[in-house]
């Protein structure tokens, strides 16, 4: 059986039954269809109308993210008619809040800002009056909710309910009153929210923010380092955002096994790394029963080596144990057991796998 084909911007392309127009386009290298409400691995709602495309013989423009591709379709992803529609959508979205990029945390990584620039849509002429009050929540230490920036794309809700399945937030109220609510419209801290931060990562604008990263510099001043989370054994891939030698925030990386997800520990638990309590110098108890005192590395290392030698000579290597760590790297655990087995001569090697 021949594969199903359709016409995309003049090219004949194959597609899998069930794929949306957006998926077909992306699988053939077209990444220029703009989206706002689309979120991978969740139900396409087609609610923002940014991804409208022209399909021959269709009465209206169709949302690429929510329209299933059909054999023989002829699709245009760019046209003057599409441009007009997308610009109008942007203008309406911008009018629905207070989108001031000057002081916005999302400046530089905001999807709305990027689209306003691409389509050259200025601040709308029919915006809400300047004294409009918006909900602002900052009563927990992890997530800030600033509804003056919210564009009601619903990505946070789908991230919470479909990617993490934590079922903590939903869209509440009706019509122009609708807003994102947690447990009968309560602050996150008093709701079922478990602070996985999926909503923060899903937000295309600056409505949901990692509180600890606020006022810590612009996105372009930071660099990102892909690494592996230090908490449980899932091994989530995280991107640490670093500025001036400080970890500003952690985001889930779109790689296996987590594909973007994190939990509260991976996302908001990095405070230990640069905590003032960190040990900064070696400590040495110069005589038994005395206090631990600061020492130089040479003093401490010489002491360890001399005492290990002494115990080995006096009692034999089988009286010495070395513990690897479930928190250290493979390379470090390998070296620890090598030190114990090859250098000391003991197999008393273990770690906390059992605890």
């Amino acid at each position: 059986m021949s594969k199903a084909t359709l016409n995309l911007d003049g090219m004949t392309v194959e597609f899998q039954p069930g794929q949306t127009i957006l998926e077909v386009a992306r699988s053939h290298g077209i990444f220029t269809i703009p989206t706002l409400c689309f979120l991978k691995d969740t139900t396409a709602t087609g609610s923002c109308r940014m991804c409208m495309v022209e399909v021959e013989k269709a009465r209206t423009l169709l949302p690429a993210c929510a329209t299933v591709a059909a054999p023989g379709m002829a699709i245009k992803t760019e046209s003057p008619r599409i441009d007009v529609a997308r610009k109008m959508v942007l203008e309406l979205v911008l009018s629905s809040g207070n989108h001031n990029c000057l002081v916005c945390e999302a400046n530089g990584e905001c999807e709305l800002q990027a689209l306003a620039y691409r389509y050259q849509v200025p601040t709308p002429s029919f915006a809400n009056p300047p004294d409009t009050k918006y909900y602002y929540e900052s009563d927990n230490s992890m997530i800030v909710r600033d509804f003056s920036k919210c564009i009601m794309c619903g990505r946070c809700v789908r991230g919470c309910n479909e990617r993490q399945v934590n079922q903590a937030i939903s869209i509440g109220y009706r019509g122009s009153h609708n807003k994102i609510v947690a447990k009968a419209d309560n602050p996150y801290i008093n709701s079922d929210c478990v602070f996985c931060g999926e909503c923060v990562q899903s937000c295309p604008v600056g409505a949901l923010l990692d509180k600890n990263s606020m006022h810590q510099g612009r996105s372009w001043e930071r660099h990102q380092v892909r690494t592996t989370c230090p908490y449980c054994g899932v091994g989530c891939q995280i991107d640490l955002h670093v500025k001036g030698g400080h970890i500003v925030k952690a985001m889930g990386a779109h790689a296996l096994p987590n594909e973007g997800r994190l939990c509260v520990k991976g996302r908001f638990g990095m405070g230990f790394v640069q905590h003032p309590d960190r040990l900064k110098t070696p400590l040495l108890r110069k005589k038994k029963g005395g206090e631990l005192e600061e020492a130089t590395w040479d003093e401490a290392l010489d002491f360890v080596a001399a005492r290990l030698k002494e115990v080995k000579e006096k009692h034999g290597p089988e009286k010495i144990g070395g513990w690897c760590s479930a928190r250290a790297t493979n390379e470090e655990d390998y070296l620890m057991q090598k030190l114990m087995r090859a250098v000391i001569g003991t197999n008393h090697v273990d770690h906390c796998a059992r605890l």
Binding site: T228, P257, F268, K280, P282, E332, Y334, M336, H351, R354
Partner: protein, 539 residues
């Protein structure tokens, strides 16, 4: 891990995290996945809620996954074997098992059949407290699924019968032909970021890296040659849980502890602390001054994961890169550099330019890691076994044959936990983790948000027990076992079942492990953290 190694020949998660979304049935037993492995729980919940797959939860606590489950079996703590044996009895009696698979790929089926025969659902109901009808339903759902995955964690292993618990789960999986297929398997969830890697690297008393036994002369010869030494010890060493009690008998005189905190995490922690005080030398290497560090003769400041390069191996055997993001804090140094410095001073030079150089040596001596390199890891993690550079890594184990050839059924009977409630200590105590905290709390209690959500130790008890003892949420409770006592606030919760209290072990000031029983599983040497007898009173 010892249990899985005996049944299949390899002790690791057989399948991968991503497969959980597409399997037909997931059986979660002894794992509070939503709090301990939230990102894996997300996959399980997606399967149950969005993809309409069957989820069976077996747990005394009404944990968060219960509301997503098709069936929840609430067993008496420490009765997992009786319960699963009864499921197998039903599956065999109703001929729901995979006969071809059992014949071709397993051995010792007759012994299993004979042992489980007496575990009728009615008999098991008396031991486990789970209604017979629920046992039958669970058996049918799991057996009829095309692919069924078993997920377990410390709720299975932290018992004196932990190894037998694991073997019993392996029995169930093999009986239904669920090992060696996509979406199936027996999947232990590892609790710490690199606990799998520490095992893989030979951080165990009986094996070199790659699970090569120290008792095999060929392995010793190979490693001695690679390391340029004359000979290597040929005896099996002690586990941590054996080393600590050995101290007071003179069996251990010096300990070098890298990144562990036994003063808080060891069972019967008071004993552990007293033991460590008797050492001639205690060296502790950590990122904070831990409860264990305070007992040490020398404390060496190590760098955290964010300050160094390296690799971690996750619970599904995936080796992923750790990359340096910031400079070492203070004068701290990465653990590998410290170990090298000590080795150099002991007259055995270790001069590695960087962690990659160490990894290259690991590849040479560890067959399952041979095909993994830093270069390959640039494009994402790789799952061992990965024997050569062309190998794509292994998503699920035991595809056409078990690592040991045929899979072995073990005929196992139910045994009571080492300590059962009695008149003096009338309640069960079970311990575990909270979503917002991690292990001994060294890391997580220094993160503002996590501490905001879980600031202190709470004793979780059922509304029934609260009424019986006249306790309200927030009251101070004195909790006592034969080993010690702690005081903490009460928290009345519908998660708890009457007769059992739950205490998290993250909090040094109310250390749950002052209470727990150091009785060990005879094979794995895992302590029975999940069951002991306890009494409570208002403080």
């Amino acid at each position: 891990m010892a249990g899985l190694a005996a049944s299949f020949g390899s002790g690791a998660m057989t399948n991968s995290i991503g497969e959980l979304e597409n399997t037909d049935c997931i059986l979660v037993i002894g794992s509070n996945t939503n709090e301990n492995h939230p990102v894996i729980a997300a996959r399980i919940k997606r399967a149950a809620r969005l993809k309409n797959k069957d989820l069976i939860v077996i747990d005394p606590r009404k944990q968060d996954l219960v509301k997503f489950s098709r069936l929840w079996l609430r067993q008496v703590p420490g009765t997992d074997i009786a319960l699963v044996n009864a499921m197998m009895q039903v599956i065999i009696a109703e001929k729901l098992y995979d006969e071809a698979y059992v014949t071709e790929r397993t051995e010792n089926f007759e012994a299993l059949k004979e042992t489980v025969a007496k575990y009728t659902p009615e008999y098991a109901e008396k031991i486990t407290g789970v209604p017979a009808a629920q046992i039958i339903e669970a058996a049918r759902i799991y057996a009829k699924a095309k692919a069924g995955s078993i997920v377990y964690c410390m709720g299975i292993t932290q018992h004196t019968v932990g190894t037998d618990n694991v073997k019993t789960l392996a029995n169930l999986a093999m009986l239904c032909g669920n090992v060696g297929i996509e979406g199936g398997g027996v999947n232990p969830l590892r609790g710490q970021n690199n606990v799998q890697g520490a095992c893989d690297m030979g951080g165990l008393p009986n094996v070199f890296s790659g699970y090569q036994a120290v008792t095999d002369p060929a392995n010793r010869e190979k490693m001695a040659k690679a390391w340029g030494v004359e000979n290597l010890p040929d005896w099996v060493g002690m586990t941590m849980t054996d080393m600590l009690p050995a101290i007071s008998k003179g069996g251990i005189k010096a300990l070098y502890i890298m990144g562990e905190n036994p003063a808080l995490t060891d069972p019967d922690a008071d004993h552990a602390i007293k033991a460590m005080q008797q050492l001639e030398l205690l060296v502790v290497q950590d990122i904070f001054l831990t409860e264990t560090g305070k007992l040490a003769d020398v404390v060496l400041p190590a760098s955290s994961f964010a300050e160094k390069d390296g690799t971690f191996s996750n619970t599904e055997r995936r080796v992923s890169r750790v990359r340096q993001a910031i400079h070492p804090v203070g004068q701290s140094r990465p653990d590998w550099q410290i170990v090298c410095e000590i080795s150099n001073r002991l007259g055995y030079p270790m001069n590695y330019a960087n962690p990659e150089a160490i990894f290259e040596e690991i590849r040479l001596v560890t067959p399952s890691y041979a095909g993994i390199s830093y270069k390959r890891l640039e494009s994402g993690g790789l799952q061992w076994p990965c024997p050569n550079e062309e190998h794509p890594g292994t998503v699920y184990l035991h595809k056409d044959w078990f690592a040991k050839g045929k899979g072995t059924f073990f005929a196992i009977d139910h045994k009571d936990p080492a300590e059962m409630p009695d008149a003096e200590y009338p309640l069960y105590l079970t311990t575990g983790r909270l979503l917002y905290q991690y292990h001994s709390g060294t890391m997580s209690r220094r993160a503002v948000g996590l501490t905001e959500k879980a600031p202190e130790c709470l004793v979780e008890l059922s509304p029934e027990d609260a009424a019986k003892y006249g306790v309200a949420s927030g009251d101070q409770l004195r909790v006592r076992t034969r080993r010690g006592q702690i005081t903490a606030k009460a928290h009345i919760s519908h998660k708890a079942v009457a007769g059992t209290i739950f205490i998290p072990f993250h909090f040094a000031e109310a250390s749950a492990n002052k209470l727990t029983n150091a009785a060990l599983d005879p094979v794995s040497k895992i302590p029975e953290y999940k069951v002991c007898a306890v009494q409570i009173e208002k403080a």
